[in-house]
């Protein structure tokens, strides 16, 4: 049995109760979210806070030079595009704050 399967089994009970509570939105673990963002913004300083302790409401602060010279709307759109696959489906609420320095 692989490590992943083991981990999956261990977390499945908690995951199941979360899923039955909210079918539409599936929570995502903080480190997974961090991982996804680090892939898309390799040079960024990323800070994520789990606001409600439920893996479903996050505050995200992301500092990256690539935001320089871009409007806030453009900066947020870059983050939204990067997170498109999880925003709306997996993630319920994400507060975003972007900065270039």
């Amino acid at each position: 049995m692989s490590f992943c399967t083991l981990r999956l089994l261990r977390s499945s009970k908690a995951a199941l109760s979360r899923m039955t509570r909210s079918f539409k939105f599936m929570p995502i673990a903080k480190d997974k979210l961090e991982q996804l963002l680090a892939q898309k913004f390799p040079d960024a300083q990323i800070e994520i806070i789990d606001l409600a302790g439920d893996n479903d409401h996050y505050s995200l602060k992301i500092i990256d030079k690539i935001f320089a010279g871009k409007s806030r709307v453009e900066q947020h759109k870059m983050v939204n595009i990067a997170l498109k696959e999880i925003l709306g489906g997996t993630l319920h609420a994400l507060q975003i704050k972007t900065s270039s320095n």
Binding site: R72, V73, H76, K77, N80, L87, G88, Q95, I96, K97
Partner: protein, 108 residues
Amino acid sequence: MTDINQQIQEMVSNNDVVLFMKGTQDFPQCGFSAVTVQILKNCGLENFLDVNVLADPEVRQGIKDFSDWPTIPQLYVKGEFIGGCDIAKEMFQSGELQELLKEKGITK
């Protein structure tokens, strides 16, 4: 341009400040919308158009496509998309939003 796009374009062109929100400014139905209403009021804005997206599914989806922005609320000033709740909050805290509204002659 589709009908709904045309409608939204007219709303944001014909009004100084438009807030697409859940509920109304007197009865917001979402925390983020409520915060944004409060920010606008704290900027000294007495009059702005509130568009309740919950009342019209076409507007609800339409505004997301129009702005290319996935969430509600959405704030427009003089036809320009300013952002959602996070950006409005950040701009209010730094004083930029108050400045923008003054600059555009919307508040004194």
